[in-house]
């Protein structure tokens, strides 16, 4: 594949992966706080529908995004209530919501199927877009894409450079210890689950108002599950998760651009790759093989290596918090 073609693939992939980026950031926040929001598939789908419908009615893309975010937050609130307050299985409630919301989206979305509607206008950045390689790659997109860059950076900064971020990681690791240090675990968990849900809502609207403009039956099918896989693939680290999302975008582009390169190979198969990667990574890390591998390195490098590769989930992920 020629360099120019590669650049195109990358550029398209980055744009197309933007909704996923918002989704994985949201899920990462929620899981960092110790709550799995398994409803991603449904939340994204429903918010795509609702966001588009609202934008259509109000004529304002922004309103669409706001409403989508609110609905996403609401769905997450249900998950939070069942998981945190009622101490039901997070898996059960998330899974049911995933199915329920996707069907609900199709059910209520009938009147707006394939109706042309407003989309996010492109916004090439004045100077940056002329930077040789990076310009076309990063800065000839629209506001939403730039927002996603900012969101990635902010999330990372928040998690690793701020005190509340550290507390967030803490409540996902050892809620009791965090409590002993003055964190209001229950409130914070609600906060981050809801915040994560809002981001997923934005992801949904990002599909229907930008990258897959419009609404059709099961418009965003599959992307929610992918997001869950990518969060694990990203080791609950916003930066790596975002990279995972871009990687998926690239695979998608390859599947279409390079189709004629491999005759007789159904390129759809490429889109399964993230799941295989996820499982392999999980096995590698969960079963402690990674640490065994690392143990062959000198301590200094070992630590760096582990920090780079470790994908051990937040210790308290999925466990209800009982303060004794």
């Amino acid at each position: 594949m020629s360099g120019e073609q590669l650049l195109i693939v990358l550029s398209t992939a980055i744009a197309a992966a933007t909704p996923l980026v918002f989704a994985v950031l949201g899920e990462t926040l929620s899981e960092r706080a110790g709550v799995i929001n398994l409803s991603a598939e449904g939340t994204i789908m429903f918010c795509a529908m609702a966001g588009f419908a609202v934008a259509l009615a109000s004529g304002s893309v922004v309103v669409g995004f706001v409403i989508a975010a609110l609905i996403g937050a609401l769905a997450a609130l249900v998950v939070g209530f069942c998981a945190i307050t009622l101490r039901q299985s997070q898996i059960a409630v998330g899974f049911v919501l995933a199915l329920l919301l996707s069907d609900l989206a199709s059910f209520l979305g009938v009147p707006i199927v394939r109706v042309p509607g407003p989309t996010v206008p492109p916004l090439p950045l004045p100077l940056l877009s002329d930077v040789p390689l990076l310009g076309p790659l990063l800065f000839r997109k629209d506001a939403l894409v730039y927002l996603s860059y900012i969101a990635i950076a902010l999330t990372w900064l928040y998690l690793y450079r701020t005190r509340p971020g550290l507390t967030l990681r803490a409540i996902g690791e050892q809620p009791n210890a965090a409590f002993a240090r003055g964190a209001d675990v229950v409130r914070l968990r609600y906060l981050y689950v809801i915040l994560g849900g809002a981001l997923m809502g934005i992801a949904g609207a990002a599909f229907s108002l930008d990258f897959k403009a419009g609404w059709s039956h099961r418009h965003t099918g599959g992307y929610g599950w992918i997001a869950l896989a990518i969060v694990i693939f990203g080791g609950w680290n916003p930066l790596r998760a975002a990279l995972g999302a871009y990687l998926f975008g690239i695979l998608q582009s390859l599947a279409s651009v390079a189709q004629d390169q491999f005759q007789n190979v159904p390129t759809q198969v490429l889109t399964v790759a993230p799941f295989v990667l996820m499982i392999v990574l999980l096995v590698l890390t969960s079963a402690g093989w990674l640490d065994r591998l690392a143990s062959y390195f000198p301590p200094a490098t070992r630590r760096r290596l582990l920090q780079m590769l470790r994908t051990s989930p937040p210790a308290a992920l999925g466990k209800p918090f009982e303060q004794d």
Partner: protein
């Protein structure tokens, strides 16, 4: 989804009134897809205008993606249970279901659009008296589309968002390529080698999440990849929608739509044109015959365009609507081309033509037979894209 019968009372078991003739239509995709499926629904509406005592029951989205665990045959059974005397399947995907239903309900006429089981000369002839194959000869339409695309492309790069790969779709791709190559050579005086004509197949007639490629993505990759004209060959209008995005982003792109004029309204100023198919005509004709005699004179219908009075919706199976993006001089050239096709002065099914793998398709001067065209085994030399040769 909605039955087109004006507010039929919600009792499914209602017996059709003596005069009323019920037709069931099994539609593979969403009925409002601005493409193939919407075109067939329009056909139904056309019939109902002409014959008020005909009622259509339409079920759309009949595919394993949208309706898991539902088969065309099952839907047809329901429609027949509701009193349908004639059932229409609107996709080649239903060929097995159509045959199954025809066998199961000998008293019901089954119309399968784009199959070949009722074609005595065909390879798969099944002698099933109540099975009708109805198809419109689309190849000229695709040639016109290809020509228009070739006239409009600045970069000399035409991309096609293709559905799944089979004889039918290969035949259309080939037809549009032939049209494109002709106009590229004759009207634009350019070397065919400079024309890049690429087909990317998504795997079905429209997006099925997780199963097909996402046509939105495919279209994006074309536009961003420097293909300034994209031909839509699937049922849904992603090519049109993404064209708008690409144009807004400052790219000089255009698209050519397929099968429903409304597809050209999505991004009007970027639409080169749309070739659409007037299914209503054929339906009307078939239904008339069936209502009179309970059968049709010929179970194999491959309807032609009416070249004499071009674009007459009441006589021509093939219609072509020019879009705003088609420049005036190109529009004139296109008219020449259409006229040529009409009077036979332009016949693109003539040799020499080679297949994609270099093997000969037609020798010098040889003309392709209907059978050769219908069962197009692979793409042609000069085209890019998966071909999946029959073997």
């Amino acid at each position: 989804t909605a039955t087109v019968t004006p507010a039929s009372p919600p009792s499914p078991q209602l017996q059709p009134a003596a005069t009323e003739f019920r037709v069931g239509m099994v539609v593979v995709g969403p009925e409002n897809d601005k493409g193939w499926n919407e075109a067939h629904v329009s056909g139904a509406k056309y019939v109902m205008e002409k014959m008020p005592n005909v009622k259509f029951d339409i079920v759309d989205k009949v595919n394993p993606g949208d309706r898991p665990n539902v088969k065309g045959a099952q839907v047809a059974d329901d429609l027949i249970a509701r009193g349908a005397k004639l059932v229409i399947f609107n996709s080649d995907d239903f060929k097995d279901d159509a045959l199954e239903i025809a066998k199961k309900h000998p008293d019901v006429m089954v119309v399968h659009v784009s199959g070949d089981y009722a074609w005595p000369e065909g390879k798969n002839y099944k002698n099933q008296p109540n099975l009708i194959n109805y198809m419109v000869k689309m190849e000229p339409g695709w040639m016109i589309a290809g020509c228009a695309a070739a006239l409009e492309t600045k970069a000399g790069r035409i991309g096609t968002v293709g559905p799944l790969i089979n004889e039918e779709t290969r035949r259309y791709a080939v037809a549009s390529y032939l049209g494109a190559r002709y106009c590229w050579e004759k009207y634009r005086q350019r070397d065919p080698k400079d024309l890049q004509f690429k087909v990317t197949w998504i795997g079905f007639w429209f997006n099925i999440p997780g199963v097909t490629l996402d046509p939105t993505k495919v279209a994006d990759d074309f536009y961003n990849g420097g293909f300034d004209v994209v031909m839509n060959a699937i049922d849904t209008p992603e090519a049109a929608v993404q064209a708008r995005k690409a144009a807004d982003a400052g790219k000089a792109v255009k698209y050519h739509h397929y099968d429903h004029p409304s597809g050209c309204e999505l991004s009007a100023d970027l639409c080169i044109g749309v070739h659409s198919y007037n299914w209503g005509l054929g339906y009307l004709n078939i239904i008339k015959q069936v209502m009179e005699s309970g059968k049709v004179s010929n179970n194999w219908i491959w309807a032609e365009a009416d070249w004499k009075n071009w674009n007459n919706p009441d006589s021509s199976a093939l219609l072509y609507t020019k879009g705003k993006a088609l420049s005036d001089e190109n529009s004139k050239l296109l008219d020449q081309f259409i006229a040529g096709l009409g009077d036979g002065s332009i016949d693109l099914w003539k040799g020499p033509l080679n297949f994609q793998d270099g093997t000969p398709f037609l020798k010098e001067g040889e003309r392709a037979t209907d059978v050769q065209i219908w069962y197009m085994p692979q793409l042609l030399e000069g085209m890019e894209g998966q071909s999946v040769p029959t073997n």
